[in-house]
Chain length 122, copies 2
Amino acid sequence: MGQDIAECCPALLTAPLDEEQAEAVAKVFKALGDPVRLRLLSMIASRSGGEVCVCDLTPAFDLSQPTISHHLKLLRQAGLIDCERRGTWVYYWLLPAATDRLARVLTRPAGAPPADTAAAAR
Amino acid sequence: MGQDIAECCPALLTAPLDEEQAEAVAKVFKALGDPVRLRLLSMIASRSGGEVCVCDLTPAFDLSQPTISHHLKLLRQAGLIDCERRGTWVYYWLLPAATDRLARVLTRPAGAPPADTAAAAR
DNA sequence: CTTCTATCTTGACGTTCATCGATTCAAGGC
DNA sequence: GCCTTGAATCGATGAACGTCAAGATAGAAG
């Protein structure tokens, strides 16, 4: 069924996306479209050592533990992070391939006109 | 008041985002978190000449014209596109600075471990 | 000035989402 | 076995979102 962003690398800014591609990419962007999830991802990605325990994430927010757990689940379903239980604690880490793909989706082909040229020329 | 993504260039994957930064960046990602808006943006960005008339966008979707207009408004409020009325028609174009900034937000610092190393090492 | 076409705005409706409290599950330590 | 602690799931609730039909607005052409 639906295409996965892991398989395709649509060039968003070069050619029109078809519906399947748009659906797959939108799923990941939607996961990033919440400030709590962005901060969670940022805390996980920037952690030296590459992984973070949930118990280190929760106290940084003014939210209940189930809510944090919910957001982590959405990030995981979007393929942005993964986790593993080790004893009593659960550790999360970034899947850099996912953010790399997204960055590529947003990158204009080399040789494109410099930023804002189109607007300035008007 | 709230920070704008135009002013800051937070490195999402390098250091933890603060709440203001997260709010600003999330606003843009949320705009991209819908397949219709992604396809609209893609159609606008990939158009040779740099601009598209609404009348060229609407027939590509199985949606009412007001719905398309609504999505275009959200993309514009996110700072991703801009528009101008010229006679009877309204033309939209990409603001490349916005997508450039987003791509940079998602880019890992040079020298970071290759994609998925963290997971594979486990 | 009236009419026609292209687009935007408004108001309403059903769906999805973020959040919480309560509960459940998993793993250790007693 | 039975607590204790960390984390996930469940069920409910209010807010935000996507969509449409109807109406409003802007410009061009008669």
